[in-house]
C-alpha cells in the first residue's frame, strides 16, 4: 500500500498530466487513468491488478452482448457475482505476498460491485461505455482496496468535471485533511484508549480475561476505530479522486448520531446502502412482495458478501433481523405512544441500543474465527467458557 505522502505526490503528478490531455477526449483521459492505476496497483499487488483487469474486460464483453441479447442483459451481470463467489469459496494458489492475496479478494469484492452497478445502469439506459472506462472504474487506485461503491456518475459523468481545476484541487485537499485526522489521529487515540483497558493482560485473545464492562468498552472503541479508519480512508480517496475531476460519493454521514437501525443505514456506508436498496432489496421485493422478508434476505446476502464466514452470516442475519423488526415496530401505535411519553429518555435509550447492537455485530463478525467470536460473547455477558 502507498505511503500517504507518496500517494498524494503521485496523484498530483498523474492528475497534472491528465489535465494536459484534451478535455474533449474523455476516452484518452480515462485510458490514462486506467493505465496509471494499473501500474500503481500492479507494482504493489500484481495478482490483484491482473484479476481486476480481467474482470473489467469481462464486464465490457457482457455489456456489448447485453445490448444485443436480452437474456445477457438480464443474467450476464450475475457472471461477475459468480466470479466473486468462486474467489471467495476457494483460496487461489498463487506465489505472491499475503497482502496481494488479501487484496485479490477484498479489492475484488468492491470493484465487482462497482462493475455490476455499471452493467445494471447501462442496460436500463441503453448506454454504452468504452473498455477504458470499465478498466478505470475497476482499477482506480485510491478506491481499489475499499469503497465507495460508485459507477460512471463518479467518473466520466462526474459533475466535478464542469468545475474549475483549482476548485477541485482545493476541495480535494479539504477532504484529504479530514481523512488524515480520522485515519491517523483519531484511530491512534482510540487505540491508546483500548490499550489502556487491556493493559496487564499478557495473552491473546483478551476476551475471557476481561469483565463485561471492560469488554463492552473495548467493543465500542473498536467500532469507533472501524468508523474512523474507514471514513478517513474514504475521505482521502474522495480527495484524491477530485484531483482528476472525479466525484466519488460520500460514504458516511455522522453514523454515531443514529437512533435506530434504519437511520444508521442512512448514515453508514452510504454507497453500499444504496446498492443494497436498489440492486438487492428491490428485486427481491418485486419477486416475493414481502418487504420485511426481502430486507432480511438482502442483508443476509450482504453479510456473506463481506466474507464467506459464519461470523459474517450472523452479522447479515443480525442487521437484516433488526431492519425487519424496525420496519414492523415503526408502524406500531403503542410503541409510538411509549416513545412520545418518554421523550428524550427514549431517544437516549434508542441511540444506546442502536450503537451497542451494531458495535456488537461488527465485533462478532470481525473476529478471525468462530471460536474467538464466541469467546467475545462469553466475555461480554460474563459467561463461563469451557474448552
Amino acid at each position: 500500500m502507498l505511503e500517504i505522502t507518496t500517494a498524494i505526490f503521485i496523484t498530483l503528478l498523474g492528475s497534472a498530466f491528465y489535465h494536459l490531455l484534451p478535455a474533449r477526449n474523455m476516452r484518452l483521459r480515462l485510458a490514462f487513468v486506467a493505465l496509471l492505476s494499473f501500474v500503481i496497483v500492479f507494482a504493489h499487488f500484481p495478482v490483484a491488478a491482473l484479476a481486476a483487469t480481467a474482470t473489467g474486460v469481462l464486464a465490457w464483453i457482457i455489456a456489448i452482448y447485453s445490448l444485443r441479447y436480452a437474456p445477457v442483459a438480464k443474467y450476464g451481470p450475475f457472471l461477475l457475482i459468480a466470479v466473486l463467489a468462486a474467489f471467495s469459496f476457494r483460496e487461489i494458489e498463487v506465489q505472491t505476498s499475503p497482502l496481494d492475496k488479501t487484496l485479490l479478494q477484498f479489492g475484488m469484492s468492491y470493484y465487482i460491485l462497482r462493475l455490476y452497478l455499471v452493467l445494471r445502469t447501462t442496460t436500463v439506459r441503453k448506454e454504452r461505455l468504452h473498455l477504458e472506462e470499465y478498466l478505470a472504474i475497476a482499477l482506480f487506485f485510491p478506491i481499489f482496496p475499499a469503497g465507495p461503491i460508485c459507477a460512471q456518475e463518479a467518473f466520466s459523468r462526474s459533475p466535478a468535471l464542469q468545475r474549475p481545476l483549482l476548485h477541485n484541487y482545493l476541495l480535494g485537499l479539504y477532504h484529504i485533511g479530514i481523512g488524515i485526522i480520522a485515519l491517523y489521529f483519531v484511530t491512534g487515540v482510540l487505540d491508546d484508549l483500548a490499550d489502556s483497558l487491556i493493559v496487564g493482560l499478557k495473552t491473546r485473545p483478551f476476551w475471557l480475561q476481561m469483565d463485561p464492562s471492560a469488554t463492552y468498552a473495548v467493543m465500542m472503541l473498536k467500532f469507533a476505530h472501524l468508523y474512523a479508519n474507514f471514513a478517513g480512508y474514504t475521505k482521502i480517496a474522495i480527495g484524491l479522486g477530485l484531483f482528476f475531476g472525479f466525484q466519488l460519493p460520500e460514504n458516511f454521514r455522522y453514523p454515531f448520531l443514529a437512533t435506530n437501525i434504519q437511520n444508521f443505514w442512512q448514515r453508514w456506508h452510504l454507497s453500499l446502502s444504496r446498492f443494497i436498496t436498489t440492486l438487492i432489496y428491490m428485486p427481491i421485493l418485486l419477486s416475493i412482495r414481502k418487504p420485511r422478508v426481502s430486507m432480511f434476505l438482502a442483508f443476509t446476502l450482504v453479510g456473506l458478501w463481506h466474507q464467506l464466514t459464519p461470523q459474517y452470516l450472523v452479522w447479515g442475519i443480525g442487521h437484516g433481523g433488526m431492519m425487519a423488526l424496525y420496519m414492523g415496530l415503526s408502524k406500531n401505535r403503542q410503541v409510538a405512544r411509549v416513545a412520545g411519553a418518554l421523550g428524550p429518555v427514549w431517544t437516549v435509550l434508542a441511540w444506546l441500543t442502536t450503537m451497542s447492537a451494531v458495535a456488537f455485530l461488527s465485533m462478532f463478525a470481525n473476529e478471525a474465527t468462530w471460536e474467538l467470536a464466541l469467546k467475545f460473547v462469553h466475555s461480554l455477558f460474563g459467561l463461563q467458557w469451557s474448552d
Binding site: 488479501t102 476548485h167 484529504i176 485515519l183
Partner: protein
C-alpha cells in the same frame, strides 16, 4: 470568506455554515497534523483500509 464558505458548503454537500466552518477547522487541523508528523515525527505511514486493522 463568506463566499468561500458558501462554495465549500455547496461543493461538499454540507448542511449549514456552522458545519462547514467546523469541517474546515477539522481539515486544517488534519493538514497541521500531517505537517507536524512530516517535519517533527516519523511521517504518517500507509493509508490502511479497514480490514487490514483487524
Amino acid at each position: 470568506m463568506k463566499v468561500l464558505i458558501e462554495k465549500l458548503k455547496t461543493s461538499a454537500g454540507l448542511a449549514s455554515d456552522r458545519e462547514t466552518w467546523l469541517m474546515l477547522a477539522v481539515s486544517t487541523a488534519g493538514w497541521a497534523f500531517y505537517l507536524y508528523q512530516y517535519l517533527c515525527g516519523s511521517g504518517l505511514g500507509v493509508a490502511i483500509p479497514r480490514y487490514a486493522v483487524y
